[in-house]
Symmetry: C2
Subunit: 476 residues, 2 copies
Amino acid sequence: MAKFTSKINYHLRGKEMVDYVADYLENIEKRQVYPDVEPGYLRSLIPEEAPLEAESYEDVVKDIERVIMPGVTHWHSPYFYAYFPTAHSFPAMLADMLCGAIGCIGFSWAASPACTELETVMLDWLGKMLKLPEDFLAGTEGSGGGVIQGTASEATLIALLAARSKIVKLIQTDHPDRSETDIISKLVAYSSDQAHSSVERAGLIGGVRMKKIPTDSKFSVRGAALQKVLEEDRAAGLIPFFFCATLGTTPSCAFDCITELGPICNAEKIWMHIDAAYAGSAFICPEFRPLLNGIEFADSFNFNPHKWLLVNFDCSAMWVKKRSDIIGAFKIEPLYLKHDHQESGNQSHWQIPLGRRFRSLKMWFVFRMYGLKGLQHVGLAKEFESLVKADQRFEISADVVLGLVCFRLKGSNELNEILLKRINSARKIHLVPCQLAGKFVLRFAVCARTTESRHVREAWSHISHLASELLQELRH
Amino acid sequence: MAKFTSKINYHLRGKEMVDYVADYLENIEKRQVYPDVEPGYLRSLIPEEAPLEAESYEDVVKDIERVIMPGVTHWHSPYFYAYFPTAHSFPAMLADMLCGAIGCIGFSWAASPACTELETVMLDWLGKMLKLPEDFLAGTEGSGGGVIQGTASEATLIALLAARSKIVKLIQTDHPDRSETDIISKLVAYSSDQAHSSVERAGLIGGVRMKKIPTDSKFSVRGAALQKVLEEDRAAGLIPFFFCATLGTTPSCAFDCITELGPICNAEKIWMHIDAAYAGSAFICPEFRPLLNGIEFADSFNFNPHKWLLVNFDCSAMWVKKRSDIIGAFKIEPLYLKHDHQESGNQSHWQIPLGRRFRSLKMWFVFRMYGLKGLQHVGLAKEFESLVKADQRFEISADVVLGLVCFRLKGSNELNEILLKRINSARKIHLVPCQLAGKFVLRFAVCARTTESRHVREAWSHISHLASELLQELRH
C-alpha cells in the first residue's frame, strides 16, 4: 500500500540477481548438498522485528549468503537423491519473471483472458504429448479439459470432492428424502496401501471413510483385491464412490493395475482418479506410454510437470472427462465476479483457492524452448541399479521402472538405518528411506537436471565405501 | 527430465527479461487497461500442439506481445480500479527470482531448514507490525504462530477444518459412542451475509451447514444477531462450532463487530476465525489498528499481504493461537518424510498442499527494503469520495474506511448497470460492481502502486462525463 514508487532500480538490481542466480546454479555442485544447521539456527541471525526505516539493497543481498544459504537443502545439486525430483529450468524461471511482472489474479476469464486461455490450451498440448484420450481434452467443443493445480494433494482432494458431490446428487435423484449427511456417512473411498499420505488426508478433509487396498508382491493394486473389498463393503451397507489409483507410488514407483481396476470402477459407478504425480512425465516417451494404458476408464488424471518435466513448482496438471462434474461441486458466483463473458470457462471453479497465478506461461516457455524431443529423456537410474546388482552385499527392493532405485543391504532394518544415517551425516549426498513390506529401504531418486553419469558412479562408490566400513566394524 | 543442460544463456536472457519486465511496468499507463479480445481469441494464435523440436528464445519472446499482451487485464495499471488490489513490488519480484532458483520444496524442516524457519520468523515480524496479541506469535516458546497460505480461501477452509476436528474430539471425549459422521451432521458454522463466497465454499467442502448472519445498516454483523441465531440453533439440536468474522468485506469493506462477537464465541466455545483479507494490511498503521480490536478473542486470523502490502501473490498470512489445533487436524507422516529433527515444526501440516515454495523470501525483501514506515500509507480513496460527494447526481453507498469507494447514480439499478457497462466498454478505466441491500453499486478500489491523485481525478472526470451523456440521452 505504499503509494510512492520503490527506489529500487529494477533494471540494475534485476540484472544483479540474474547473475547471482545463474552463478548459484552453475556452481551448485561445490555447495554441500545438505546443511549443517540445527533447528532454530535462523532466528538468532536476524533482528527480532522488521526495520522501521528502509534498508539498502546491498544489505539485504549480503544476507542471502549469511542467513539463507547455510540453511538450504540444495535440491538441484547433482548430489541430491532424496524424495522425488522437483523440476527446474531456465525457460521456466524466465517465464516466472514475466508471470510476476504481469501479476494478474486469474480468477475469472475477465480478470485476465490470456491467463485463462493459455492454461486451457497448454493443458491440451500436454494432454496430446501424453496421448490422453480425446475425452480429456478441451479443444473448442470438448466437455473435458485440464487445469493447473498447485500440488497433486489438491488434485486428489478436488477429485474426491467432485466424486462426493456427484454420488450425493445421484442418490438423491432416486431418494429425494435422504439427507446429504446421511449419504456421506455411508460413503467409502479407496486407495492403494502404497498411496501417498495426501490421499488419506483427502479422505480426512472430505469427511469420508478411506480404505487401503492391499497390494501384491510388486506393490500394485490388482482388480481382484478391489473387488473383494467392494463386495464386503456393499454387503455392509456402505456406498463405494471413489478409487484413487497410483501410477508410480512414492515409496517404490509401483503401478496399480488400472486395466483391471478401471472396468470394475466403471461397472460399479465408482469415480476413478489416477495419481501419477511423479511417473506421469515419463508417459511422453513412447517406450513408457504403455504404463498409462487403462487411462480411458478414468474420470480424472493428474501428474506433476513440476516434478520431472522442467516446469518449476508449482504446476500440477489435472484433467477430467467432464468439466461439469468438477465445476458443479464448487461453483458459487457473487456479483463482483460476474462479467459479460460469463460462459467462458475459468479454472477457479476447479480448485480450492479462488486466486491463481499465470502459471501456464512456464509450460509454454518450457515446451517451446525444449520441444517434445528435448523432453523425452529418462536415464541414469538403470545405471545405478546395475551398480547395486553387481554388489552381492546389496539387494534391489522393487522393480526399477523410471528414475527411482529402492535398495538395501541384505540384513536387518537396523543395519540399513545405520547405513542411511552415515550416508546423510557425511553430507556428500542426500537420500531418504521408505518402508516396503516391513523392510527399511533406501531410496535413490535421480533428481537434478545436472546429474550426470559421473555423479551417479561417485554416489555409488561413496555408499559402497560407507557400507564396507560399517560391515567391517560389525565384524569386529 | 531432459538430462542435458538447456542451451539458454541465462546470464544473457535473464537480463533481457529484466529489461522487458521493467519497461512493461514503467510504461504500463500507455497500455489499454482492459483487453479487447473475445473468448477463444488465443487458441487460433498458436499451434495446436507443442513443437517437436526446440524453438529459439527469440521466437518465444516475440510471441509475448503477439499472443499474451493483447489478452491481459493490466492489474498494475493506474487505471485499474476493479476487485481489490493485488500487491506488486520490485523487492518481491527480486525475491521471487531467488525463490525460483533455490527451488526447494519446503514440506518438512529437513527439506530446507531456511524455508521453514524464515517463514516462522517473518510471520512473527508481521504479527508484531500488526500488534497482534503475544498468543499468536511463535517466538521460541509460544504455542501459536503464523503460516503462509496460498489464499484467504485456503485459510478459511483450514480454520473450519481445524474447528471441525476439535469439536468432534471434544464431544467424543464426553460421548465416546457418538460417531464422527453423526456429530458432523449436527454442526453449524456461521458468517456474515456479506462474507466472501469462499466462506460458503469452505462449508461445502467441509460438509457442514453454513448459515449467514444478517448484517446491520453498516453491513456489519453485531453480537445480538449472532446470539439470536445461536439460541434458535441450539434449541433445534444443532451444534454451533465456527464463526468466520470479516474485517473489510469484499462488496463494501464493512467490519463485523468483533468486540461484541468475540466474547459470545468464547463463551459458547465457538472457534472464531477472522478473515481480514483486504483490510488487514492497513492495521500496520496506528490510525487503523483500532479496527482490529477484539482480535484477542479470535482463534485464528488471516489477511493477504499479497493484496495490499507489496508482496506479490501468493502470500496469505494466517496466525493461530494454538498450533496444535491445526496440526492435529491434518498430520499424517510417512517414513519418507521423517527426519532427525522431526519435532521442528514445519508448516505443511497447516495447509492443504504438502509442497510449498520459499515464499517468505518475498516478505523479507519487502519488509527490509521498504521498512515499516515505508509501508504505512493509505490514500486516494478519500479524495475520490469527496469528488463523488460534491456531485449531487451520485450517492455514496457505504462508509469509506480504507481504499474502496462504493457509489452509484441516484436512481434505478438499471441506470447504474448501463453506466458501468459504458465505463468498462470505453476501456479507459476498469471497475466491477457489487450488490448492497438490493442496490446495484459501483466499486472504485484504488489498486495499483502507481496510482496517483491525477489518475483518480482523471477517472472521476471520465465517469462524470459518461454519466452526463447517459442522463442527457435519457432526458430525450
